[in-house]
Every structure is written in C-alpha cells, then in structure tokens.
Amino acid sequence: MKLKNKDLKKKLLKQVPIILLFMSVLNNFDFNYLGLKYFSFNFSYILIFYFSLKRSSSLGYTYIFIAGLFNDVVNGSPIGISSLMYLFLCGVAAYLRVITLRTSFFKDWIAFVGAILILNSLSFVIVNLFFNFEISFINQIVNIFFTSLLYLLFSSIFSFFKGSSSVR
C-alpha cells in the first residue's frame, strides 16, 4: 500500500511541469492586475526551456504543441504561432543538451536570452507582416527583458525543488 502511494506520488510529481504549462497558457499568470505599466513576462518560455534542457522527459513535445494552440486561442494570436515558437525553443534546448558536456547555469541563461530574442523577433515579424496584427514594440521588449531576468529566479526554484541542476 505504501509502495503504491509512493508510486502515485512519483507519477503526480512527474506531471507537475505539464500541469504548470497548461495552467500558465490558460491563465497567463503575469501579475497584470498589479497594474504595473512596464512589467510582463512569459512564464511558458521559462518553463519549456528549463524542462526541455534539464528534464526532457517531463514535457512531451506533443503536449507543448497542444499548449501552444491553447495559448494562441486564449491570447487571440494566429493559431499555430505559439506552438511554433515553443517547439523552436525546445529545439534550441535539445541542441544545447546534445552539445554540452558540463552544464553551466550562466551559459544556459545566455542561450535562453539569445533564443527568446530571436523567437520574439520572429513572432513579431510573422504577426506584423503576414497577419497585420499591431503589437506594441515597447511591450515586447519589456516582456523579453523580464522573461530573461525571471528565468534566473524560476530556474533556481525549479532546481531547488527537483535537485537536478547538475543532472542531465
């Protein structure tokens, strides 16, 4: 009985990243209600990059793809764009995982910043040019800035809970 409970707990813990991902895309928890003019961040990017890099088995690509579709629908952006960006981010993380022998927190962060800069620019160009959707340039920059900064915080929290910062 005890063993069964332990198994169940383990299985539930394994699903935590997926639950967090779906909660973040369906709920967009970005503290907008605080009314801070220049504050927003993309929690999904942080979550996807971290878990694709550190625990690739925790988040399946199919779940990430579906989460992207949900995110587009909730945000009202063209359907498929978030999935594409999320999967590109997974690609960057997977590439980094393959080429890196010794992990470094700082190098991971640099790679993350580079990746979200490119991905946000790409999404900005696609949405603006092909879908005639107006997006505030400043908001986009603010979002990139805080996402980059908060990656440090959230990855430390995830590492603390998982105790896996050095395991790949």
């Binding site: 949900f70 945000n75 359907i79 498929g80 594409l84 999967l87 879908f131 107006e134 505030s136």
Partner: protein, 284 residues
C-alpha cells in the same frame, strides 16, 4: 573544420529528428505541422477554422476554471487596496452623488425633449436591446486587451455588437463562437472608434493605446481646451449607437491638456457586461 561541421549536423539531427522516450512525434515533424496550421489558418482554410472552434470552446471553458485561484488573489488584492482608500473614496463619492443627482434631473428632461423634437423633425431614433454576459476570462495581456464572455452565436451575438459596462462603452465583439465570444476592449491598440467630444462638438477617432487610456486621433489637440470634455460615441458610420459615454479627456499633472482619454469603466474590474443590439427606427 570538416569535423566540427559534422558534429553540428549530428547535434542538429539528434535534437530535431530523434524521438525521445515516450515521444510519438519528432520535433521537426511537429514544427512542420505547426507551420502548416499557421499558413493554412492565415489562408482561412476550413478544417483549420473548425479546429480553431473546437480548441476555443475547450480553452475558454477551461480558462474560467483554471483562473479561479488567480482571480481569488486578484480580488483579495483589490479589496485590500479599496479598504486602504475607503475614507477618501467615500468623501469623493458623496460629493459626486450630490452633483449627479442634480444633473440627472436635467438629463431626464433633455432626453424627453430630444425625443419630442426628433418626432417633430421626423428624424430617426435608435432602439436597442441587450443581453447580459458573464466574463469568462479577462486576459489583459500586454499584447491583446480583450475579454471572453459566456454568450455566443447561440444567444444571438454577432460580430460588431457593442459591449457596455453599466452605461459605459467598453468595446465590441470581434469573434463569435457557439457559446462564447471575444470582446476587443477600447484600450487595445487595434481598437478605433468614431467619437464626439462634448461640449466642443468635435468629431474624432478614439484609438486604444495598449495601456489603460485611449488616444484621440485625427483631431487638433489645441481645440480641446476644457478638462471637463467628455467623449461619446458619435454614431458615424452606423457602427456604434450615438451618445454612449466612453471617457473624459485626461488632465495631466502639469495642468496642460493632452489628447489622452480616461475611460469611465475600469476594464480590470469587469464581471458582467451588456451586449447591445440596436436598430435604427424611423420616428414615425
């Protein structure tokens, strides 16, 4: 040089083509699939539109439940904030109430007089009917200021229908599903409505700024000299019923005026809204 290029190709191949444990699809396969959906969605391909409808119905309903904990936090935060400012709010409200009571009497008289005069000049008047809807999700993201309501085509909601919070305009319907709809708020950068600035009687366009306030466009700013100027819908183009209050010209700290508009309704506090249907009827 050759070896490093080989390593790069191997790493890319491993990252994008190799299926991980318990993965059904490779990363590249899903990227291609997303790209296909994106392109076909842009071309209004029918099966993609059906897929969108299904995902929307699931996502909007799920959003309502998933956002319950955050809503609780948000409400507690706002209640605490209100309690802190309670005394000041009360004093201000009492003064405003006195002022409004006197204005209301005058208003009733003007409405009746207006209707009577319209009948005399055989003008038309607008008759409106509305339904109340609950907010399912208010994702005021920095990129899109919109809300999801629990009324859709099943309840007769159409694209372009006007949405009000009490007597104030908050936006219009831009997307209709079977049981849900999306309302584009006036604060969204893509929102543009024809307005009338009173008492100057200036016709203009009010655009969202992506922030809390709106911006008056295509009007000479120096014309708006009074900080008491109120912005109403003008009804030009027949998109909106004329005379719905939108906001007031914002006075900035330096004492000078700019072309920003402070909306009457607080879009972060919406719980129920009214979707308005209107038709123009002859006064006869």
């Amino acid at each position: 040089m050759e070896t490093s290029r080989d390593d790069f190709v191997i790493a890319i191949r491993s990252a994008f083509l190799k299926k991980q444990n318990q993965q059904r699809f490779s990363l590249l396969g899903l990227i291609v699939f997303s790209l296909t959906i994106l392109i076909l969605g842009g071309l209004n391909f029918k099966p993609i539109n059906y897929l969108k409808l299904v995902v929307k119905e699931i996502a909007y309903r799920s959003t309502f439940f998933v956002s319950v904990p955050e809503k609780l936090i948000k409400e507690s935060y706002q209640i605490t904030k209100k309690h802190i400012n309670l005394y000041n709010i009360n004093v201000r409200n009492e003064l405003e109430l006195e002022d409004l009571k006197s204005k209301d009497l005058l208003n009733n008289f003007l409405v009746l007089e207006n209707q009577r005069l319209k009948l005399i000049v055989e003008d038309y008047f607008v008759e409106s009917d509305g339904i109340y809807a609950k907010i399912l999700s208010d994702k005021n993201s920095p990129f899109l200021k919109s809300i999801i309501i629990n009324k859709g085509s099943k309840h007769g909601v159409n694209i372009g229908a006007v949405v009000k919070d009490k007597e104030y305009l908050i936006g219009k319907i831009i997307e209709v599903n079977y049981t849900t709809s999306r309302v584009l708020l006036l604060s969204d950068i893509n929102s543009k409505i024809p307005v009338l600035i009173e008492p100057q009687g200036l016709l203009s366009i009010l655009s969202g700024s992506g922030d809390k306030e709106g911006v008056i466009q295509y009007s000479k700013a120096e014309n708006i000299t009074e900080d008491t100027s109120v912005v109403y819908t003008s009804g030009v183009g027949g998109l909106y019923k004329a005379g719905i209050p939108v906001g007031k010209i914002k006075k900035i700290n330096t004492g000078s005026l700019n072309n920003k508009v402070e909306f009457f309704s607080d879009f972060s506090q919406l719980k129920f809204v009214e979707v308005l249907f209107f038709e123009i009827k002859s006064a006869k």
